[in-house]
Amino acid sequence: MNFLRLFAVFFRVSLLNEAAYRVNFFVQLFQSLLELGTALAGLAVIFSYTTALGGWRPDEMLALVGVFFLVGGVISLIIQPGMSGLIDSVRDGTLDFTLTKPEDAQLLVSIQRVAVWSLLDLLMGLGVLVVALVRLGEKIGGWQAAGFLGMLLAGSVIVYSFWLILACLSFWFVRVENLLEIFRSMYEAGRWPISLYPGWLRFGLTFVVPVAFATTIPAEALTGRLGIGSLLGSLAAAMGLFALARLILRLGLRRYSGASA
């Protein structure tokens, strides 16, 4: 609960800051709509030549696009700003101000910056997902819905922990922003079901850079493609990676010496 209360506070502050630049809202709205339109038009081109892409029907692909935008929205709303904030403050020594606050350091660094307008991507992803769900209709049972929500949560935790681990490398190395950029460009491959890709690429997008957990696996859970093994594996990976990220942050903080110490 504490997390939600703090997040609400940070979100409100960011929103107040952004409210001074209202045109930005419309620019962002325009860009998000354009991106969604591009994704849908791309699907239209593909499905004008086929009825199913590697076994995925149009409505199921629509659900995947929804998940892609939803998780992408979460990344650019809170994960990306927070983690680049962490890297900046380790380099500048301003992490001191965060550490002296009477709250969990990991929580504070994770929500310190919120890119408010990215909420649009998130909402649009939700919208697309709802449309896809309505069109998929009764095919989705209670178990599938529960599995989907669980996998969405697990996928978000995995992506968050992965970014946190990368950002924590800044305690040891000076320039790590580039690693975060690599994730952003690899995330683009998550627009399509990972099962389309050849084995080596599938492996890379699952175990080296965990894109599959964020987009394909939730969509597979929703469309009844996910076995119980992968489901449990994904949950275990989320918990394991989260614990690892927390440990690495602790080790990093122990090494951190501040701006003037």
Binding site: E181, E188, W192, P198
Partner: protein
Amino acid sequence: MKLLLQIRHLLNLYVQQFKTTFATMVQYRASLVIWTISAVLEPLVYLIVWSTVSNGSGGSVGSYTAQGFAAYYIALMIVNQVTYTWIMYEYEYRVRQGYLSFALLRPVHPIHADIADNLSSKLITLPLVLIVAAVLALLFHPSAGLHAWALLAFLPALVLAFLVRFLIEWTLALAAFWTTRVSALNQVYFVLMLFLSGQIAPLGLFPPWLQTVAAVLPFRWMLGFPVELLVGRLTPLQSLEGLGVQAAWLVLSLLLVRVVWRAGVRVYSAVGA
């Protein structure tokens, strides 16, 4: 005599720029890897998606088999690497921070430094992309109808594509003189490029009316045309016509650069001016 001297000056400038760019790029090896990953990943993903479609619908889509798509997208990866620019991201920063003032003080048009910088970094990244292309060729077994005349015509087509793309994107980058919100404009441009240059699908797969639109606009001539030429999708006559259209766009974009640059410099005022 004067002209010769001028050319020598320019050549000198290009050589110096190459040295500077090379030194910078050696410093930023990580950014190099990132550029390569994104330059490779996008065509690779479309290659895989379209191969899946063609394998799923009886072995071909239009006139493209899975191997045909492999050839098309590997060629696209190389042509895109040669022709792409990042100037649209850079200009906004230059104008906003006032760095453009330094470029304006120099006795040559600032576009030369940008072209030289672009070419220099390509000299370093292109071998990397060619290696990746060779590996992908081993993995995806591309097949294309290679003709000697097409290979010969490919070179001027590639050079023209580079020049037209560079001039048009440089002109668009100048939008930074008038507005600080260039990101929306850039995105519109990239969407048009994605659909009308042959990136999302070979243009031959689009309905005829859309192919006509693509033929009238510059995007195909900056990317798709050299690719189609290289993988043997065009007749000699079509190739000649294409080179003609490219030349026309070159003239047009040269005019555009002149007009927009003059108007832009007039509205530019750095802090402290």
